[in-house]
């Protein structure tokens, strides 16, 4: 293991750093820094879309995608360099990260040439936003219990059912829907994945207001939605493999994106309280030191995860620890931030008190989802116990 850049990597880093200092990047980053509208889903999405577009136009999207799909075919080390530099300038995430990180690789592996040509270019530019319609009211951790049905009707499929926790569906153009295509098959057999246009007749997106007040999540109501046979991603009845691939991607390069969110939160705290501004008391400084060390270690753990992934495309034994460690760290950092801001940080903006920053409380409440979404802590521990530690169930 060696974490110093070689010649080409150093040149790539310098080029990206220079790009970040120029407009449009500099102006967008400045806007993101000033933005206190973290509670407003629409504004956040709009800014992150423009950021996605700017990165694409600069040639920084899909650097590790194969060149036949419009990428630059560079090793994951370059993805890490981008992530490090984006984190250092506290860049916002891109709007369509689900499409870029979780869906595009599925299309590359399981998609037809027509599906790839139709979707991958738009995913790179940010125009094609994809949401994942996996969970249902009756199928959370037990995802194989989905009851949304896909019925064959000639050359078409007809989808019926209800999906929930569909993040960013209100801004998406396509939903990747997991449905039971063979009712005779139990469990994870008989499931198929479909790429469904979000404005298909019979499909209704209903935003779901969450405990933090915002509505990133949505209901997805499918009421006799007719899709063409070409909407099927992968073979019929083999949808579980596609979903498992998607979940394994969430344990791969996406771990860098997660770690960056925590590091940016800590960096904000440090910037506000560096010596000479508003000093922190000793107990708070101690908590901050511990959390900073954990974030530092988590970044390096992610590098090991990405390194293992780079070897054979399969997340290795430590990949499942990352989400578990991150979820706790993310909440601890958000809680520390709330503590540092004290009671004033919890008050509502008023005419006489001025514009209090509501971002910290939003961030804290948002982190309550971290130990639930994308596999609960309990599921992660169970995966570790069974698959990594080999403990008999």
């Amino acid at each position: 293991m060696r974490l110093a850049d070689d010649h080409d990597e150093a040149a790539f880093r310098a080029e990206f750093r220079a790009w970040l200092r120029r407009d449009p990047a500099a102006a967008l980053l400045d806007e993101a820094q000033r933005g206190t509208a973290r509670g407003d889903v629409g504004q956040r999405f709009e800014l992150r879309s423009r950021w996605h577009r700017a990165l694409h136009d600069g040639g920084w999207m899909g650097v590790s995608w194969p060149s036949r799909f419009g990428g630059r075919g560079l090793p994951f080390a370059y993805q890490i360099i981008l992530n490090e530099e984006l984190t250092a300038v506290q860049a916002p995430p891109i709007a369509a990260w689900v499409a870029v990180e979780l869906v595009a690789p599925l299309l590359m592996k399981w998609g037809t040439a027509a599906q790839q040509n139709a979707m991958l270019p738009g995913i790179l530019t940010g125009e094609t936003v994809v949401c994942q319609g996996f969970s249902e009211p009756g199928a959370g951790s037990d995802l194989a219990a989905v009851s949304t049905t896909a019925r064959r009707d000639g050359e078409h499929w007809v989808l019926d059912g209800t999906k929930v926790w569909t993040s960013w569906a209100q801004h998406s153009s396509v939903a990747l829907v997991l449905a039971r295509s063979d009712p005779a098959q139990p469990g994870h057999r008989g499931l198929s994945c479909f790429l469904v246009d979000i404005d298909s007749p019979g499909l209704r997106v209903e935003p779901l207001r969450m405990l933090h007040g915002g509505a990133e999540e949505n209901w997805l109501h499918l009421d006799g939605v007719r899709v063409a046979g070409e909407a099927l991603l992968g073979e019929p009845g083999r949808g579980w493999r596609v979903v498992m691939h998607s979940l394994s991607l969430a344990r791969g390069v996406s771990s860098l994106t997660r770690t960056a969110t925590v590091e940016v939160a800590i960096a904000r705290l440090l910037t506000e309280h560096s010596t000479g501004t508003a000093p922190l008391d000793e107990v708070t400084a101690h908590r901050l030191a511990v959390l900073h060390a954990r974030a530092r270690a988590l970044r390096w753990l992610c590098y090991r995860v990405v390194g293992e992934l780079d070897q054979d495309g399969i997340p290795g034994s430590i990949a499942s620890t990352e989400k578990l460690l991150w979820a706790r760290l993310s909440r601890d950092v958000a809680a520390l931030t709330l503590d540092v801001h004290g009671l004033p940080g919890l008050t509502e903006p008023t005419d006489w008190a001025g514009d209090t920053n509501t971002a910290e409380r939003f961030d804290y409440l948002r982190t309550l989802a971290d130990s639930v979404e994308g596999g609960t802590d309990e599921i992660q521990r169970e995966i570790l116990a069974t698959r990594v530690l080999g403990l008999e169930a």
């Binding site: 101690h286 270690a297 970044r299 590098y303 090991r304």
Partner: protein, 319 residues
């Protein structure tokens, strides 16, 4: 950037530690092992219960700075730059005060000490004004060398920025290698516990089938991998020269000290009453972890140093 272990490194990571003599010879060769290689070896030593980080940190430092600081004749000096230097006062070429250094063997040659002047000092243990006692610690392999100095003559080997750099470099290497050994010790504890919960039956089935036990193991494994990642990262990202950056080394001491104690405690707990008996090989590992984590001022000082450096040297960058 190389994100994975080379085949040679992987062999050390999965195997037994190299003989100390061999490593010391390699350190003086034209292609010396990197600090990362030494960290892997310390981890392997920790797994097999061999104390190693203290001796390797000294050998690493001497190999780099032997020319500048070694005695022209006589026994090789023993760097004890981790000794608490706050209590030492340098006046001309004599030093007064008390200091304690963690050692695995009582040094036979002169001692190299740090003092806050800052300076690197060479002290003969059998010289005038030097009273030396050794105190046993809760780990039989480590002792504390107590120095009580009254106008003891010293040779000043380095002062100013050079001395500060040398002392910081030694401390950073010592912190990272000690942390690597702690990871090895904790890994031994966890692996022992994993075997035990798979074999031990209660209520007619193995402990490993109980979800509370399974999840304890998973949590401990996660903490261990976080600690190992900290060591890998700190050892693989050079700050100045080949030594890790100071802030990274302090963070390593802080995180790995806490994580490895937690893992070892969990492993002992998972053994039930059998983890509590003298004949268990888990408490010796926990004892050594406690000694190693308490070196260099312990976690309290580590947290203070991390907080100070983070809040002082702030450029607005997140990593």
């Amino acid at each position: 950037v190389q994100l994975t272990l080379t085949p040679g490194q992987a062999a050390v990571a999965d195997g037994l530690p190299t003989e100390l003599d061999i490593l010391c010879r390699r350190l003086c060769s034209d292609t010396p092992p990197t600090l990362f290689d030494l960290a892997l070896d310390c981890e392997a030593a920790g797994r097999s219960g061999t104390p190693r980080s203290d001796a390797l940190a000294r050998a690493w430092w001497l190999a780099r700075h032997g020319d500048a600081t070694a005695a022209p004749t006589g026994e090789q000096p023993h760097p004890a730059l981790d000794a608490d230097s706050d209590g030492l006062r340098l006046a001309g070429t004599t030093v007064t005060g008390r200091a304690g250094a963690l050692v695995t063997d009582r040094p036979c040659g002169p001692l190299l000490l740090a003092c806050d002047a800052p300076a690197v000092l060479r002290l003969c243990l059998d010289g005038p004004g030097v009273a030396v006692t050794t105190r046993a610690t809760l780990d039989p392999a480590h002792q504390v060398l107590d120095l009580d100095l009254a106008d003891a003559p010293v040779t000043v080997l380095a002062t100013g920025e050079k001395a500060a750099d040398r002392i910081a470099e030694y401390r950073a290497a010592h912190q990272v290698l000690a942390a690597a050994e702690m990871v090895g010790l904790a890994a031994h504890c966890l692996h022992t516990a994993l075997r035990y919960v798979a074999e031990r039956e209660q209520f007619g089935k193995p402990l490993s089938t109980f979800q509370s036990v399974r999840h304890s193991c998973a949590q401990a494994f996660s903490e261990l991998e976080l600690a190992r990642s900290m060591v890998y990262g700190a050892a693989a990202s050079p700050g100045q020269g080949d030594a890790p950056g100071g802030c990274d080394a302090w963070q390593t001491q802080l995180l790995v000290g806490d994580a490895t104690v937690a893992v070892a405690e969990t492993a002992i707990h998972l053994h039930g009453g059998r983890g509590l008996v003298w004949d268990s090989d888990l408490h010796p590992a926990l004892r050594r972890i406690w000694v190693l984590r308490s070196a260099n001022g312990g976690p309290g000082r580590a947290a203070r140093e991390v907080a100070r450096q983070l809040l002082e040297h702030r450029g607005g960058a997140a990593i």
